[in-house]
Amino acid sequence: MSLLRYYMAEARNGLLHEFQYRVTAFIGLIGFLIEPVVYLAVWRSVAIAQGGAVGDYGLSDLTGYYIAWGLVRAMNLALTPYSWEWRIRGGRLNEFLIRPVHPFHRDFAFFAGQKPIWIMMALPLAAIMWLTFRPDLTFSLAGLLGFSVAIWFAFTMRHMFLFLLGSVNFWTTRTSALFELNVALELMLSGRLVPMSLMPEWVQGVSNFLPFRWTFQFPIEAVIGRLDTGQILFGLGVQIAWILGLMLLIRLVWGKAIKRYTAVGG
């Protein structure tokens, strides 16, 4: 089987699926794009009150950060462990296991196929935010290229990480608490809630060794011009290292996990 051809076909179905539910997708998108608008409003107020900056973030940086935030968020949406719980408890994994391709590829391709729709819907909001706040940002070719690659690596990393978390369902189907812990950690350590440079130094230190910031803050900082070429290349290298590490972990965990699958419910 040509994996590329399969990816194209699965991505096409992902895209068509989003077209089927475009209104739902749009409402969902509005829901999570409100998040950066709120963050931006809060941090701009704080920055203005402090004379135009919060830490090393000026008004333009903050605006650019939360505009790029929306695009990165749309890009790194992946299948949640909640869905894994549903699949495993309901025996719905059967339909994926019977296919001559690893379930990892199915979800990756399906979600990848939905990205163009999400990006297309996120772009108008980004444009509105841009025109409203008119940030003074300069873009570099390295930053734009780095961003283009980094958002795909970020999606890959996040997909792999959530795949691993989802695999815990093979041992226990009560993983909600674990996933909520992951959401909390991601919120605090990825730059989603607040740019990491505004966090205490020890938190920044910890975040360097966890995957979260490399799936979120790194692509954002690359595109808004806060990283030089060397830092961008280093960040991409870290992402690749995480991807390789997660790949090994998935191989290890999946081999053991699948033996525990009881294929309940038909």
Partner: protein
């Protein structure tokens, strides 16, 4: 809990085998093990020269598992879109894909059903498009788990005909579980019976009937039938011109000859009991053995 234990059997290429057993007998578990969904604690299974639980793509490309509650096609998309995905997934050459797709659409009378989102189809319609999708890659081994579950009689019949035609055209091996004995009778010459995970019978359908039947039914129609029919067997029904008797299998010849010699008989029929009764007896005996 042990679901299947010591069930040993071989399937020959091209045969359709009915896989029978009461609820919880281990039929579906066996099918899942043979299709690679379950990892057995012990024992060896081989399908097409592959060990199923290794789930090698080369193996998975040659089999299909169809269950009555199957939802392999994308719920929100028309089946035609899922068919295109299956074409890529199974590397189906373009000409074969088009030929099979059109053939299945015609044989299963799918028509416009393949252009509607699967979620809009009825259970029976969905089962037909699911079956068509499962067979697009022309699997050599087909595991069917209650494929006609919940379907009306017409739909059941259509599916049976389709499965038989598919088996004949592609020479595929089919292992079928069904609670509808009509499925088994229509499709299978050989049946395997398991109960509580153990194999209790493996042989021809006719042999199953012979082995587990304790009586046959003789119905005679005629005028002036003798009043003492009890001497020939257990009278099940008596009408003025029609009597139905239950007779031990080894007495059928003697009783039939005797009736024909002693009365004016217009018609005489000898029937096995309904297959459902036979199966019920098989399950009951299997339960006593365990």
């Amino acid at each position: 809990m042990v679901a299947v234990e010591g069930a040993t059997f071989d399937l020959r290429q091209g045969e359709i085998v009915g896989f029978l057993g009461p609820n919880g007998a281990g039929k579906t578990t066996t099918l899942k093990m043979l299709s690679g969904l379950l990892f057995p604690d012990s024992g060896v299974g081989q399908v097409l020269g592959h060990v199923p639980h290794k789930r090698e793509p080369a193996f998975l490309k040659r089999i299909a598992l169809v269950t009555g509650n199957r939802n392999a096609l994308a719920w929100d998309l028309p089946a035609l879109d899922s068919f295109l995905l299956l074409k890529a997934l199974y590397d189906i050459p373009g000409a074969d894909f088009i030929r099979r797709r059109d053939q299945y659409i015609e044989l299963l009378e799918l028509g416009e059903l393949v252009t509607k989102p699967v979620r809009n189809l009825s259970l029976g319609e969905r089962m037909k498009v699911e079956l068509a999708g499962a067979l697009l890659h022309a699997p050599e081994v087909l595991f069917l788990d209650e494929p006609t579950l919940g379907l009306d009689v017409t739909m059941q019949k259509r599916l049976r005909t389709f499965i038989r035609d598919y088996n004949r055209e592609y020479g595929s091996t089919v292992l079928l579980t069904s609670h509808y004995m009509a499925d088994v009778v229509a499709l299978s010459e050989r049946v395997i019976v398991i109960h509580r995970g153990r194999l209790h019978y493996d042989g021809g359908l006719a042999g199953l009937t012979n082995r587990f039947t304790t009586f046959k039914t003789i119905t005679v129609i005629g005028e002036g039938l003798p009043g003492d029919m009890e001497v020939w067997g257990e009278v099940v029904e008596r009408l003025p011109d029609r009597v139905t008797l239950r007779v031990a299998p080894d007495q059928v010849g003697r009783v039939a000859a005797g009736l024909l010699a002693t009365a004016t008989i217009e018609d005489l029929t000898i029937e096995d009991p309904p297959i459902e009764d036979v199966i019920e007896r098989v399950f009951a005996e299997a339960g006593e053995d365990t």
